[in-house]
Amino acid sequence: MASTAGTLDSPVKQIQIEGMVVLKIIKHYQEEGQGSEVVQGVLLGLVVEDRLEITNCFPFPQHTEDDADFDEVQYQMEMMRSLRHVNIDHLHVGWYQSTYYGSFVSRALLDSQFSYQHAIEESVVLIYDPIKTGQGSLSLKAYRLTPKLMEICKEKDFTPEGLKKANIGFEHMFEEVPIVIRNSHLINVLMWELEDKSTVADKHELLNLSSSNHLEKSLQLLMDRVDDMSQDIVKFNTYSRNLSKQQQQKHQYLQRRQQENAQRQSRGEPQLPEEDINKMFKPPQPPPRMDTLLIAGQVNNYCQNVKEFTSQNLGKLFMAEALQGHN
């Protein structure tokens, strides 16, 4: 679903994040995200050559009340104004979102990212996966929409013909940008201090052998998506069948018309007027293909995650075997 940024000609080739931003995102999810779907927030920073530097972020409140829209814009404006007073970069460069087992390819994400990328060309969306992080390694990925997808979103032409023209597959929807974490010297000093004063972590989550729970959940989600996809495919098939049937009917009608006209000509009667066929045979509504693309992208994402997980676990199992062998 993601192609490396090196091959595409995008304005952003690498993302550089401050350590503090990472900690803030983790904390936001930990405190406010339990149970609910996603937590979101805004990223602030600046663009340096072909790098996007993210230097700060602030979270969004949850959409609990009805006047969510009005609240959001005002909240954002106030936040940015206040941050400007304390010399924090107030340039919007993107947004972040947490995800549940990797299910983030949705219409909402696409719309938001499109509006961001339209306004600010270099913006990215950071996807933070708390469950994967809890398993031992920080999972933070940055995505942008490919230029092709931007074109399509602008046109809003989601019919099959439109997509075929653009020749876009689910692999070319998002591009992943590599992330690098950077810490200033002062923060490094802080890290030394922390290491000194804190206890050694006694949980090595990464070497945990239990896998069935996580696999089950992922496969469940994968199955749901595949079901959605098959439904979508059925819809598309009925549409194409209807379309072809209608073509046939039109053809037949035209033929009959011509025959009758020929007959009338031979009898010397006035010809029947040419009726507008299009009004009689209304073409069926072509189903929007955007959802299919999104579902395909999501399925692909799930598969990638599952494969990564299984390869890690295989490694761990072989290690356990080696350990047992010495017993």
């Binding site: 550089q16 350590g19 503090m20 990472v22 900690l23 983790i26 904390k27 936001h28 405190e31 979270p59 909240y75 106030e78 206040s82 007073h85 304390v86 010399n87 924090i88 708390p130 992080t133 809890g134 031992g136 390694s137 920080l138 099959p160 020749n167 597959g169 992330i179 690098v180 950077r182 810490n183 200033s184 002062l186 923060i187 802080l190 890290m191 030394w192 201090e193 922390l194 804190s198 090595h204 070497l207 896998s211 069935s212 994968l222 595949v226 598309f236 299919t292 395909a296 399925v299 692909n300 799930y302 598969c303 390869s311 890690q312 676990n313 761990k316 199992l317 356990a320 075997e321 017993n327």
Partner: protein
């Protein structure tokens, strides 16, 4: 020195924010101050968030933008309604007279606020992070010497003593500071720790088997240290310590003794599960790719 009062538990994100705001301070400002947010418990105070507040400090006066502080607190409250103002922080080594004034301000916002100092200028070679709480008002008995300059001679507890104290003083008592992490935070901090090693202070995010390899090598390092210690004890260089010996016994016993056959079975069934899932996901990916191509024909 006995510990007085509650324990202060700090999350690393707070300290990182403080360092960051110190780096971004205005020209000429020698220190930064800000508000601390968190939750209060019976025996501990947990500091989970903070934001910096613009202020001006000169020789004789100090001005803090309290309007700003109130505003920011409102905004933060909308995101996390459980956080309250529990105190304030300042960078720098010592507590100055201005700190007392600022502490007064904050007493109006929160009951018994704590004051956190972080020595970002590294005056003592390390970054000292300390937390203080204000003890009850103390009366200071001032004696004037012949030049008419007052000198503080004695410090008492106030109120009931009714000492005709001239000036009321404030004493800051240090509290013990602990760093606590959520699990995911711990993992994040571990990653950040690794930026210390590289010259550009940068670190990319690794994936897949390389992470498992990294973790395994860390465990290996730890085992090497333990082995070296055991060698030393055996050759008599280091005297044996019983408690360490007990830990070692625990360690060796932790590897469960399962018959080779049972272990083979378990291993094989697990591997089969994982391989099957990998095969299925590859199949699904091929399927959707095919579907894509067919539709776009």
């Amino acid at each position: 020195m006995s510990v007085f009062g509650p324990v202060v538990k700090i999350h690393p994100v707070v300290l990182a924010s403080i360092c960051d705001s110190y780096e971004r301070r205005n020209e000429g400002a020698s220190r930064v101050i800000g508000t601390l947010l968190g939750t209060i418990d019976k025996h501990s105070i947990e500091v989970t968030n903070c934001f910096s507040v613009p202020h001006n400090e000169s020789e004789d006066e100090v001005a803090v933008d309290m309007e700003f502080a109130k505003n920011m607190y409102e905004l933060h409250k909308r995101v996390s309604p459980t956080e309250v103002i529990i105190g304030w922080y300042a960078t720098g080594f010592d507590i100055t007279e201005h700190s007392v004034l600022i502490h007064e301000y904050y007493s109006r916002e929160a009951t018994n606020p704590i004051h956190l100092t972080a020595d970002t200028a590294l005056q003592s070679g390390k970054m000292n992070i300390r937390a203080y709480v204000r003890l009850a008002h103390l009366s200071v008995l001032c004696l004037k010497n012949s030049e008419g300059i007052s000198e503080c001679q004695y410090v008492f507890y106030s109120a009931q003593m009714g000492v005709p104290g001239k000036t009321v003083g404030v004493m800051f008592t240090p509290l013990s500071v602990k760093y606590i992490y959520y699990d995911t935070e711990r993992i994040g901090v571990d990653l950040l720790q690794r930026t210390r090693m590289t010259p550009g202070r940068t670190k990319g995010l690794t994936s897949d088997l390389s992470q498992v390899a990294g973790s395994a090598s860390r465990v290996q390092d730890m085992l090497t240290t333990v082995l070296a210690y055991i060698e030393d004890v055996l050759s008599g260089k280091v005297t044996a310590d019983n408690s360490v010996g007990r830990f070692l016994m625990d360690l060796v016993n932790k590897v469960p003794t399962i018959s080779a056959e049972d272990f083979e079975n378990m291993l094989n069934s697990n591997i089969n599960d994982l391989l099957m899932v990998t095969y299925l996901s590859n199949l699904t990916q091929a399927q959707i790719a095919l579907n894509e191509k067919l539709v776009l024909l």
